[in-house]
């Protein structure tokens, strides 16, 4: 999985695209995916990989699009601990921290430094 992930990231950058990469860096309780799970947030919606799916992932995608816009890396906390009875898809019961940063083709990276 990890192998494939960076090859896919490289292919997108080679196309000249700037993307956001989300990584689960910490989990508490029961979560749909493990620390180290990764996802590419694609500017036109062709995301790759998953950090767990559902509502939590929608929040990660929104944050990823913000990272694409302003270039500021950030860590977002996804809370899936709502009671099961509520009208919500986040019923895994855990909390995950997701770090998101922008990956750009080389030229743009050089400019932003």
């Amino acid at each position: 999985m990890a192998a494939n992930f960076y090859q896919q990231l490289q292919a997108l950058l080679d196309e000249g695209l700037t993307v956001a990469v989300a990584t689960i860096v910490n989990v508490k309780g029961s979560t749909p995916r493990e620390v180290g799970a990764k996802m590419i947030i694609h500017p036109y919606g062709q995301h790759i990989g998953t950090v767990g799916g559902g509502c939590g992932e929608a929040d990660v995608i929104r944050a990823g699009l913000d990272v694409l816009t302003d270039g500021q890396p950030r860590t977002v906390r996804i809370d899936l601990t709502e009671p099961i009875a509520m009208q919500s898809t986040g019923v895994c019961g855990g909390i995950l921290d997701v770090f998101i940063e922008r990956w750009a083709p080389d030229a743009e990276t050089m400019e932003s430094h």
Binding site: M1, A3, Y6, Q7, Q10, V25, V35, T75, D106, T109
Partner: protein
């Protein structure tokens, strides 16, 4: 960025372990580290990337190498009077090497599923009509040759197999399984399993104890009969049971 990505994809292609260090937050004296990365190898090869954190660098490299050895992603925090730094060490572990001795009915689905689970798969049999690419398209290597000789060659230039290697003994004849079992009995394999009925295996151990003087405790770590006891019947189901047992072993799962 480009050098970092190339290092990661090259390591993956060569099935080598590496770690990617990413800066999650950096304040004060570390502020310049923001958005920087470093790829670290388990040995002393020079890291690749643009991340440097001054006097703490050796400590950082040591922590990353430890994470690689433990196959565990790790968050690191450094706090000084002048700043604070939070890093994520993402481990791209070396894939486990699964050697399947015996290219029969169980080996085919086992090789397929193990490749899906990111194992490097080698299939070995002394019958070329079974040990061939057409039968095992997803295996990393398929070897047709004498069992013991070829298995020994797979150790490479090391005296024993390492703890990243799993061995499944499913040859067509118990005498081959036993021959290979004796060859690797002292190797620190991550997993060692042998097919056969409970009764048959007990008889083999007794025979080896009486005729060769091999103490019974040496067989304690051998998974035999092979596979988790899930009631598997078909070759594919048996392959599921074997792979589940391997994953349970290498991941430290809950099944005793």
């Amino acid at each position: 960025m480009r050098a970092v990505l190339t290092a990661l994809t090259t390591a993956a292609a060569q099935r080598e372990a590496v770690a990617l260090i990413t800066v999650m937050s950096a304040e004060g004296e570390f502020a310049d580290a923001r958005r920087r990365h470093l790829v670290v190898w388990p040995d002393a090869r020079p890291p690749v990337g643009d991340l440097t954190i001054g006097a703490l660098q050796p400590q950082l490299l040591a922590a990353a190498r430890q994470a690689i050895n433990q196959r565990r992603h790790t968050q690191l925090h450094y706090q000084t009077e002048q700043g604070a730094l939070t890093l994520f060490v993402e481990v791209q572990p070396q894939p486990y090497h699964l050697i399947i001795a015996g290219a029969g009915h169980v080996a085919v689905p086992l090789a397929t599923m193990a490749a899906l689970c990111d194992f490097t798969v080698t299939v070995l049999d002394d019958r070329p009509q079974y040990a061939n690419r057409q039968r095992f398209p997803t295996a990393h290597r398929v070897i047709a040759g004498p069992f013991r000789e070829e298995l020994c060659k797979l150790r490479g230039n090391r005296p024993t197999f390492d703890a990243q290697t799993c061995l499944v003994l499913v040859t067509r004849g118990h005498q081959y399984d036993v021959e290979l079992l004796l060859e690797v009995l002292d190797d620190p394999l991550a997993y060692l399993g042998m097919i056969g009925s409970r009764r048959r295996i007990r008889a083999v151990y007794e025979l080896l104890e009486q005729e060769r003087g091999i103490p019974r405790h040496k067989f304690d770590r051998v998974h035999a009969p092979i596979g988790l006891n899930i009631g598997a019947q078909t070759p594919a189901e048996i392959a599921v049971a074997i792979l589940a047992e391997i994953i349970n072993t290498v991941r430290g799962g809950a099944i005793a």
